[in-house]
């Protein structure tokens, strides 16, 4: 079901705010990963601001929905969403990657409320999400578990071990997103180590697969609703995305995986993001 105009505009505005925070954070730190953070901003926005049952005032609620950022280098997008949601003061975003900060280069569960799992070493998050989903089943809780994977990340063998287990244990309370932006560090995923056909692989592993435009709020939300209705299998939402989405000079550029913008580039990025109209 499509969002009404007002909800859609508000979600787009939130995503845009998070994008601005991403580039500001990375610029301030002179370090970090803007590309893969920007590509996931719309997915996290729908999850955190429309879908997930989470409460910043009760971050350990046993019934809360869980989100695992398996591609932990995209920490800026998670921090942006958590701050906007009220898990910690927004000013703290500017401490990202600095010494003594709670905002570690990669998310640290022990240091920051709202971070469900420490990640950063790629390929491990899907197994952890499986464990959370299994626990939900054991405890008869109806929370849902979400996990975001990178398209380079799924080259890790552990992802496929986890894919097999999720289907084997019929984890229909688990929904995974693949941030299919076609870039990793050494180049295009197709050139480095081609994971395609991703949809057929996950189907063959026993998953329900949905393919969407990962920057379309309605499609993201519809896919989440569809996943909830599927019984007996986990769902993989393959989100076609653009790495660096929203900042013209970062879009589809492999060089912006882990590079910080300088002052001038930051100004340009913010100018572009400030110019985004919410009702386009």
């Amino acid at each position: 079901m499509a969002f009404d105009e007002q909800t859609l505009a508000s979600l787009k505005e939130t995503a845009n705010t998070i994008r601005k925070d991403i580039v500001k954070m990375v610029a301030e730190a002179s370090s970090g990963h803007p590309g893969g953070s920007l590509s996931a901003a719309d997915i996290l926005t729908v999850l955190y601001f429309n879908e997930m049952n989470i409460d910043p005032n009760n971050p350990q609620d046993p019934n809360r929905d869980r989100f695992v950022l398996s591609k932990g280098h995209a920490s800026p997008v998670l921090y942006g969403a958590l701050a906007e949601k009220g898990f910690f003061p927004k000013e703290e975003l500017m401490t990202f990657r600095k010494i003594n900060s709670r905002l570690q280069g990669h998310p640290s569960k022990k240091s920051l409320p709202g971070v469900e799992m420490s990640t950063g070493s790629l390929g491990q998050g899907l197994s952890v999400a499986n464990g959370m989903a299994l626990a939900g089943k054991l405890d008869n809780r109806d929370y849902r578990v979400y996990v975001l994977l990178g398209d380079g990340e799924i080259q890790e063998g552990m992802i496929w071990e986890a894919a097999m287990s999720a289907a084997h244990y019929k984890l229909d309370n688990l929904t995974a997103f693949l941030d299919y932006n076609h870039l990793q560090i050494d180049g295009r995923v197709e050139d480095v180590m081609n994971p395609a056909p991703v949809d057929e692989k996950f189907r063959a592993f026993g998953w329900h697969v949905i393919i969407i435009d990962g920057h379309d709020m309605n499609q993201i939300s519809d896919a989440i609703q569809e996943a909830k209705s599927i019984k007996g299998k986990p769902t993989m939402i393959i989100a076609n995305t653009i790495k660096g989405k929203g900042v013209s000079f970062m879009e589809n550029q492999v060089g912006w995986h882990g590079t910080a913008p300088n002052a001038e580039q930051l100004a340009q990025a913010l100018e572009e993001l400030n110019g985004v109209k919410q009702n386009d």
Binding site: S108, S121, Q155, Q184
Partner: protein, 309 residues
């Protein structure tokens, strides 16, 4: 003072090696720009394999290449080239004693801003505990160059631990690296400081400062952690009042432990360890982290003085 990152020296040495020896093959796991294997990839594209983000697969593939007489150098960040693939290294490389060189970069706290998830401070301990594995930590660019060539000539598994930031150049072409040998870089009679990797320069500086206070410090560079140079350690234990070790690694299982093992079995001597005190690191600038986690010249000086008094 000239500063060069050991990973940069590694990238250059690999290209030299590629020309010298057609059996040298390089594998990387989507970090070739950071590990500097990209230079080799450009020069010898047919002998370079990007395995994508699949470190365990990379280790196994290297083992297979080695069974056919190739000399694979595998590179990624230290954490993903050791802790991520411990069993694969043990069972597919060390147990059959295959000729694979694991040359990793971004080791220790000085990896910096990426934080604890990426900061390997346990790798030496782990690599040292696997039979057949040789463990080497070069301290500067020239030593790295020589280590890479020596590793290629040596038949068997070698772990080479390299770093991200530029570090002072200590050695020139006259320096001679030999696997299994420590090197006295500063003569001294009161206390011995044994250092590896990025801690060598602070150790030399500490000795200079202590000299001004009338304390004579022998500084030993210990690039090979395994097999460790027992003779040079025993001699230091006999001739000086005690030993301070300095390493960018957990104090459990690294250089300090290796040195302590040698002296307790031969010439029981006090050994004080400068290193990461069994804790995870965090995000920050390399120098801030070395300061916060107790890995500076000042910390070495403090330990030397504890032995003197």
């Amino acid at each position: 003072m000239t500063k060069i990152a050991t990973r940069d020296a590694y990238g250059k040495a690999l290209v030299e090696l590629g020309e010298k020896n057609p059996n040298v093959i390089v594998l990387d796991a989507d970090l070739s720009k950071s590990t500097k294997t990209a230079d080799f990839a450009k020069t010898y594209p047919d002998r370079f394999f990007d395995m994508g983000i699949s470190e365990a697969n990379m280790i196994g593939t290297a083992a297979g290449l080695a069974t056919a007489g190739k000399i694979p150098f595998v590179s990624t960040f230290a954490l993903f080239g050791t802790l991520r693939v411990g069993d694969q290294i043990r069972n597919s490389i060390c147990y059959p004693n295959l000729n694979v060189k694991i040359a990793v970069t971004h080791s220790g706290l000085t990896l910096g801003e990426d934080g604890a998830s990426h900061q390997a401070v346990e790798d030496i301990s782990m690599m040292r505990a696997i039979p057949n594995m040789t463990v080497i930590v070069p301290a500067d660019a020239e030593e790295t160059r020589q280590v890479i060539h020596a590793a290629a000539e040596y038949d068997g598994p070698v772990y080479i631990r390299l770093g991200r930031p530029a570090v002072p150049v200590v050695f020139d072409k006259n320096y001679k690296f030999e696997i299994g040998k420590g090197v006295v870089v500063n003569e001294g009679a009161d206390v011995t400081v044994i250092a590896m990797g990025v801690m060598l320069s602070p150790a030399i500086e500490a000795a200079k400062e202590l000299e001004k206070e009338g304390i004579s410090v022998r500084v030993i560079n210990m690039p090979t952690i395994k097999p460790i140079d027992k003779d040079i350690i025993i001699k230091a234990a006999q001739e000086t009042k005690g030993i301070v070790t300095a390493e960018e690694h957990n104090i459990y299982g690294g250089l300090g432990s290796a040195v302590a093992e040698v002296v307790t079995e031969s010439v029981p001597t006090v050994v004080k360890r400068v290193g990461v005190e069994d804790t995870f690191g965090e995000s920050g600038k390399p120098n801030e982290l070395l300061e916060k986690y107790g890995l500076t010249k000042e910390h070495i000086i403090e330990k030397v003085k504890e032995i003197i008094k």
